[in-house]
Amino acid sequence: MLRYTLKRLLSLFISLAIASLLIFAVIEVAPGDPASFMLGINAQEDTLAALRAELGLDQPKWQRYLSWVGGMVQGDFGTSYQYRTPVSEMIADRLWVSLPLALYALTLSTIIAFPAGIYAASRRGKAGDVGVMGATQVGIAIPNFWFAMMLVLIFAINLRWFSAGGFAGWDKGVFAAMKSLTLPAIALALPQAAILARVMRSSLLDVLDEDFMRTARAKGLSRGAALRRHGLRNAMIPVLTILGLQFSFLLAGGIIIEQVFYLPGLGRLIFQSISARDLIVVESVTMLLVFAVIVVNFVVDLAYAAVDPRLRART
């Protein structure tokens, strides 16, 4: 198990190194000079040069890469070209919205998907299964911005249970903050839950056909007990994979939902920074998201091994 963990850790660092190089290279070749963007088109050549020097844009590429990576390791993401504030502060503010939102949505999605998937699998081919699968089909098909607007219409405008948008802020208390994240989380969770429920169902159905399920029944376990004791854990590998992917997606991919609900999240930050050629912010947020994805994958890898002893052995 230790060897397995170390190996996964090694691959994590290699992935991070490659990703940081790629991100740096892509941003480098992207057209647009931040200095001229900041000073406007009428800027003098010497002012531009001075600003470039100040931003460190005149240094050789490898030096800029190293200082970028070195800074990130120490928590220094540089200074935004546009706002002249430390990028780390901007990211931290946004992360306090996006991360809880992603976790919230993921929790909701799991709470809905697991029972739905298990129920559908245990009633394969019967009305309950068809009903759940039909519902998940709808859940996948509905565009989430439309669903978000419907939620606003019903729960914010008609029933007035929630506010239509904006983020209360954590200083107003956990309850208020979570309340303002509830509608966005539901909107994000629904399609994810639908996908997860389908994966859960098909993965369980595969396991139900396995010989060891018949052995479990021959021992005297009821259908349900066999499913819970022997089926679930064996069905978890594909489900964990999807969960990992969904978390990464939720962290960064909520941009449309953030727009609908006026949430100051990472998605909007990256979108605004791209429009403003604020490359240092784009670079840093992208790197952060890549970091999150790689760490989540690492955690998922460890979860695989926790679930399946065969992976622990195969170091």
Binding site: A218, N234, A313
Partner: protein, 517 residues
């Protein structure tokens, strides 16, 4: 008073009749074997006793197990009986255990379910000791055990609560002969010690000849004959039983081969596999799968290769086909190394699973002409070649437009042979080519191979774990153990007078029917 009695059991699944008026009985301590070919309903009979039938099954008649009317009980009651009154052992030990639970947890689960008075862990240890796994810790996982050991774990699970009836559904079919012999002895011992009734389901008459008190022969969902083992084997009444016995002991009439110059030369061949690295700075170890193997196959010679799983026979086969790099020695066909592409057209192979080796979306005409791409130019008389290849293997030229799923298992193996022979290769390799077939079909395919020998002077290498088959279909045989060929010689001489202890062990372990040569 019988422990189990099945009376007039009929079964249909989704309206398709599976069993028709099946009756049999089993007394405490008795061993009854239910035998028949695939589709005979023998496994369904076993599952009906446990009431573990697939969905949409409808059973009529009566199954009485120790006074319980199994067909009339509700699911909750059945759950209390399964595992307690009756235990079951399945065919595939590799998949019959939950891969993510320790064997201790799986064995003790039965105890925990039915016998709250016992300490599950202590009991699990006791039964594992009883089945001969006293050196195996409870904390081991199934993937850390061999096939035979896993089957012992399954047996331990089934007997943990001291059931009155043990049902074993093809318990040794997936195992090597020596392991098979051990498992059969174990089952027999357990039944005798505990006075358990043992219901054995098997397709192999030879397996039960030595251990069953009575045999029930099934075909197409019906019992065709039942009787005491010695009487039934000595004097079968029903024509189907007679045919089954004849097929099991089938001897082909192999024409004399015309031995000439060596065709295939295997010299000092070594194949090493690199093992996974265990420590960062220590070079990875190697596993020698094929160790200094030497032999020749002469033109017109039929040679057998036997050995248990893991002995290296598959690796050697792949090396001969040029599909596996070798670390030492040479393999040449007519003097050319087999890795040379020009050799490919001279060698063809027939695999165990005909369905798996055909692309299901291609028609037969395309499937069996696949080897044509090995030729410099495809033959002009394309259609005639297809027709004659199909006729040669006993199929009709009209079959060329069909898809593989439209054929039975035996017919598919005929197609595989047609595909191998269509370019008239100099060497054919049969890799467990008849192992998955029912005995009567197997007999037909063996006859077909003998016929083709007569017609085309085939040269082949016949790889099998089944000694009785190799004995009848080859001139010479090689016995392989742990990567080495430990004995080779004229087939009859090797079987009649084995020199190496391992060969003797294999022959002794192989179940035989009384009256077999």
């Amino acid at each position: 008073m019988s422990l189990l009695s099945i009376n007039g059991l009929s079964l249909s699944i989704s309206g398709t009749p599976i069993l028709h008026d099946v009756s049999l009985s089993l007394a405490p301590g008795e061993v009854v074997a239910v035998t028949g070919e695939s589709g005979s309903g023998k496994s369904m009979t076993a599952l009906a006793v446990m009431q573990l039938l697939p969905a949409r099954s409808e059973a009529t008649g009566a199954i009485t197990l120790n006074g319980h009317e199994m067909l009339e009980l509700d699911e909750t009651t059945l759950c209390t009986l399964r595992g307690d009154l009756a235990g079951m052992v399945f065919q595939e030990p590799m998949t019959a255990l939950n891969p993510v639970q320790t064997i201790g947890a799986q064995v003790s689960e039965t105890v925990r379910l039915h016998r709250p008075d016992l300490n599950p862990t202590t009991r699990a240890r006791e039964v594992l000791d009883r089945v001969g796994l006293d050196t195996i810790a409870l904390t081991r996982y199934p993937h850390e055990l061999s096939g035979g050991q896993r089957q012992r774990v399954v047996i331990a699970t089934a007997i943990a609560c001291g059931p009155k009836l043990l049902i074993a559904d093809e318990p040794t079919t997936a195992l090597d002969v020596t392991t098979q012999a051990q498992i059969l002895t174990l089952l027999k011992r357990l039944a005798a010690e505990d006075g358990m009734g043992l219901l054995m389901i098997t397709h192999d008459l030879a397996v039960v000849a030595e251990m069953a008190d009575r045999i029930v022969v099934m075909r197409h969902g019906e019992v065709v004959e039942a009787g005491d083992t010695p009487a039934l084997l000595a004097d079968p009444q029903h024509p189907y039983t007679q045919a089954l016995l004849a097929a099991s002991n089938h001897r082909v009439n192999l024409p004399a081969g015309a031995e000439q110059a060596p065709l295939l030369r295997v010299q000092d061949v070594v194949r090493d596999y690199t093992l996974p690295r265990t420590q960062l700075f220590v070079p990875a170890g190697t596993h020698r799968a094929v160790d200094q193997v030497n032999f020749d196959i002469k033109r017109g010679e039929r040679i057998g290769l036997v050995g248990e799983s893991g002995c290296g026979k598959s690796t050697l086969t792949r090396a001969i086909l040029g599909l596996e790099p070798v670390q030492g020695g040479s393999i040449t066909l007519d003097g050319t190394p087999v890795t040379d592409p020009s050799v490919r057209r001279k060698m063809q192979v027939v695999f165990q699973d005909p369905y798996g080796s055909f692309n299901p979306r291609h028609r037969v005409a395309r499937l069996i002409t696949e080897p044509f791409h090995l030729l410099d130019s495809p033959p002009r008389d394309h259609d005639d070649r297809i027709a004659s290849a199909l006729t040669d293997v006993g199929l009709s030229p009209d079959d060329a437009q069909k898809y593989p799923h439209q054929f039975s298992g035996g017919q598919r193996q005929r197609l595989a042979i047609a595909r191998a022979l269509i370019i008239r290769p100099e060497l054919v390799i049969f890799d467990e080519a008849v192992s998955a077939l029912d005995v009567s079909v197997r007999a037909q395919i063996l006859d077909l191979i003998a016929d083709l020998c007569r017609q085309y002077d085939l040269t082949y290498l016949f790889i099998s774990h089944d000694l009785s088959v190799v004995r009848t279909i080859t001139d010479r045989v090689m016995v392989m153990q742990k990567g080495k060929i430990v004995e080779q010689g004229v087939t009859e001489a090797v079987f009649a007078n084995p020199q190496h202890s391992y060969t003797r062990q294999l022959i002794d372990a192989a179940p035989t029917l009384p009256g077999a040569a």
